[in-house]
């Protein structure tokens, strides 16, 4: 039935957002899979020079998402992987309004095109654990069924809620399409470059005073693996994708050898806005909320359905630390040496005291 031969694996796959890091890596990985015949990358912009090298086996088409309808029908597309999301406003790219345009309007246009594509069998949408919002009454661990108690303050969180709402509508209208929504924890890894990895790369890291949020990360390679399996196999539903286990923010900062600088919360929101306006740092209310409330999700549904467990949050973070030794303030070896020195000192003083008659 399927041109690709293998049951479940689609013949022609469209990947959106190939101009960005995640989209380029996913497209390259799908192109390397022999079960998939054609991988078409869609992005209005040309990929970065360093990403262009990856995209050898990918046919790149430079169009906007609103003109996608004809393409999906003409090329007999079997699967669409929607990755073209912007996680933080970028002043050079038009700020928050452009971000919303891309995230919400772009997804609407894509889903409208998908709805009219007769051969489409599969839709994979990138979402985020920001879908759970942030509230003081939240349960400690979110399962896929948890509804957000408060609409997030941050733009990205609100966009994610809108996007998931549209996908729910799409599922109702096209029940024949296998729709997979993947709620990713923040990406981390040796090569990933995100707002959070830049945050942890600084020698002095601002934190919210009196809060020690629980964080979860997913290793970039594991995110690729899950996306790949979502395309090659059939996994309908919504899944949390995160590394099992938890790091407290203070613990993560110490493990990275950085120094945390507590900032009062009202000041932090203002400082984040100021820094954004001045053009350095891209911390928004999304990040501030994450650093007040933390966010931990249950990944047992993913493990059951995919038969795959991402590497733990601690292991993913350690991989990040190894690649970012630059801004380290205190190393573990220094701490161990300091411990030995102090212990020796105390022993010598004590034995000297004891030798006095």
């Amino acid at each position: 039935m399927t041109p690709g031969g293998t049951p479940g694996a689609p013949g022609v796959v469209v990947v959106t957002g190939t101009g960005r890091y995640l989209g380029a890596h996913v497209a390259a990985r799908l192109a390397a899979d022999p079960r998939i015949e054609r991988v078409i990358g869609v992005d209005p912009a040309a990929p970065n020079p360093e990403l262009a090298g990856l995209l050898g086996g990918v046919e790149l088409i430079r169009i906007d998402l609103d003109s996608l309808g004809g393409l999906l029908a003409d090329l007999d597309v079997d699967a669409v992987v929607h990755l073209a999301l912007v996680t933080a406003p970028d002043a050079q790219q038009g700020g928050r309004s452009a971000m919303k345009e891309q995230n919400v309007i772009g997804t609407m246009q894509l889903l409208a095109a998908c709805q009219r594509a007769p051969r489409l069998r599969k839709l994979v949408v990138r979402s985020s654990t920001a879908a759970y919002g942030a509230s003081f009454r939240d349960p400690a661990v979110f399962t896929e069924e948890t509804e957000p108690r408060e609409v997030p303050r941050g733009g990205f969180g609100r966009d994610i809620l809108d996007i998931e709402g549209y996908v729910r509508g799409f599922r109702r209208r096209r029940p024949d399409v296998t729709a997979t929504v993947l709620r990713f924890a923040p990406f981390i890894g040796s090569t990933a470059d995100t707002t959070l990895t830049r945050y942890f790369s600084q020698p002095f890291v601002p934190t919210v005073f009196g809060r020690d949020p629980r964080l979860q990360f997913v290793h970039f390679d594991d995110a690729l693996e899950v996306l790949h399996r979502s395309v090659a196999e059939d996994h309908p539903g919504t899944y949390n994708v995160a590394g099992p286990g938890v790091l407290a923010l203070s613990q993560a900062i110490r493990r990275a050898g950085r120094v945390g600088v507590p900032v009062l919360e009202p000041g932090l929101s203002g400082a984040a806005a100021l820094a954004r306006n001045l053009g350095f740092g891209r911390y928004g209310l999304d990040q501030v909320d994450l650093f007040v409330h933390g966010r931990v999700v249950d990944t047992s549904a993913l493990e059951r359905e995919y038969g795959f467990t991402p590497r733990s949050t601690v292991a993913a973070f350690d991989d990040f630390i190894r690649a970012h030794q630059g801004g380290v303030v205190v190393t573990r070896d220094q701490l161990a040496a300091a411990e030995r020195a102090v212990l020796d000192g105390i022993r010598q003083v004590r034995s000297a005291v004891r030798e006095q008659p």
Binding site: D138, P139, A140, V141, T146, G210, D212, R255, R347, S351
Partner: protein, 354 residues
């Protein structure tokens, strides 16, 4: 640093760490801690073999318990304390400790919070704990207690006493009001000591993973009641704790805590001030706010904690959504605690007695 055994050290000994010939006095702290009887061994027989080298290792205290014969070598109690304290600091500064998905940090709880609470419950409140055999040694359990004392100190005392005195040293995972998790610092401390927000998903998740969960269904109604209402159990809310227990088939262990009501006897509640500060109540006690920070010192009442026989719920798993079953069970728990409070109060005629 003037310990009796140090003064007894033989001058001109051939080794720096030789064991003194003169035995330590009867109240010498290290020897007592090492389990050595002060009068039984005058002859230093077994000291030559384990004579420790002064060469330091990373964590000498953590490995290989020392021979009791050595009382002032690197293996003595102070050296061990210093070494384990330094190892603790290094672990903290390098982030080398586990945290569970609720944010519980056993390393910090054991090394920092429990020692403080231990002094409080053992020496200040002279707490007596009975009925510990009713707390399951492994597997899930829901401990339900009465709440009191203006500041919810009883929950912390209960968790520290249970961890110390229970043979399995179980941690009590407390469920707290969302007000706790709204406040900076307090929210971080609550999570690090094993607490989480009182809601059914969290309670069921903890019980489902075999933890011992502590709840106080009276909530602020219990903590913020006046001294004249002491030891009168307040309403038990919607009984959400019962449905969590039923859904997971967890036994409910009622616990009665006597003593918490007298630590900050609340004479009046300034409601307008409470509303202004967005607090559930603003207490006036004999010492607070008159004495300022000194008013925060809890009065040294005598505490009694009794765990009651567990109420099994495994046969009621299907009735978790039946309001009648839930209310009846909540009433049964409430009655048990109230009765036990009365018997405990009879055992303690003087609230500030020995």
């Amino acid at each position: 640093m003037s310990r009796p055994d140090e003064q007894g050290g033989r001058p001109g000994a051939n080794g720096r760490y030789d064991v003194p010939l003169v035995v330590a006095g009867p109240d010498g702290e290290p020897t007592r801690r090492n389990g050595r009887h002060p009068t039984s061994d005058a002859a230093p027989t077994s000291d030559a073999a384990p004579a420790p080298t002064p060469a330091p290792t990373g964590e000498p205290a953590a490995s290989a318990p020392r021979e009791p014969a050595v009382s002032d070598g690197p293996g003595d109690v102070w050296d061990r304390r210093v070494a384990s304290g330094l190892a603790f600091l290094r672990r903290r500064f390098s982030g080398d400790y586990p945290v569970d998905e609720f944010g519980f940090d056993p390393d910090l709880t054991e090394s920092v919070f429990h020692p403080v609470l231990r002094m409080l419950y053992r020496d200040w409140f002279r707490t007596e704990v009975t009925g510990l055999e009713h707390v399951p040694a492994d597997g899930a359990g829901l401990v339900v207690g009465n709440h009191s004392g203006t500041v919810a100190l009883d929950a912390l005392i209960l968790s520290a006493a249970l961890h110390d005195q229970h043979p399995a040293h179980r941690y009590l995972r407390l469920l707290g009001a969302d007000l706790v998790f709204r406040m900076p610092v307090l929210s971080a401390v609550a999570r690090k000591t094993g607490g989480t927000v009182a809601c059914n998903p969290d309670a069921e998740r903890l019980l489902g993973s075999g933890e011992l969960v502590g709840v106080f269904p009276e909530g602020f109604k219990g903590v913020g009641k006046l001294y004249s209402d002491r030891y009168k159990l307040q309403r038990f809310g919607r009984g959400g704790f019962v449905s969590a227990a039923l859904r997971t088939g967890t036994p409910i262990v009622p616990v009665a805590i006597v003593g918490g009501e007298e630590i900050y006897p609340m004479l009046a509640d300034i409601k307008p001030l409470a509303r202004l500060l967005k607090l559930p109540y603003f207490p006036v006690t004999p010492t607070f706010p008159w004495l300022g920070p000194l008013g925060m010192v809890p009065l040294p009442s005598k505490w009694l904690i009794e765990f009651c026989p567990p109420i099994p719920t495994a046969h009621l798993t299907e009735s978790a959504d039946d309001p009648l079953v839930v209310f009846n069970l909540a009433d049964q728990v409430r009655e048990t605690i109230q009765q036990t409070l009365h018997t405990l109060l009879e055992r303690r005629p003087d609230p500030f007695g020995p």
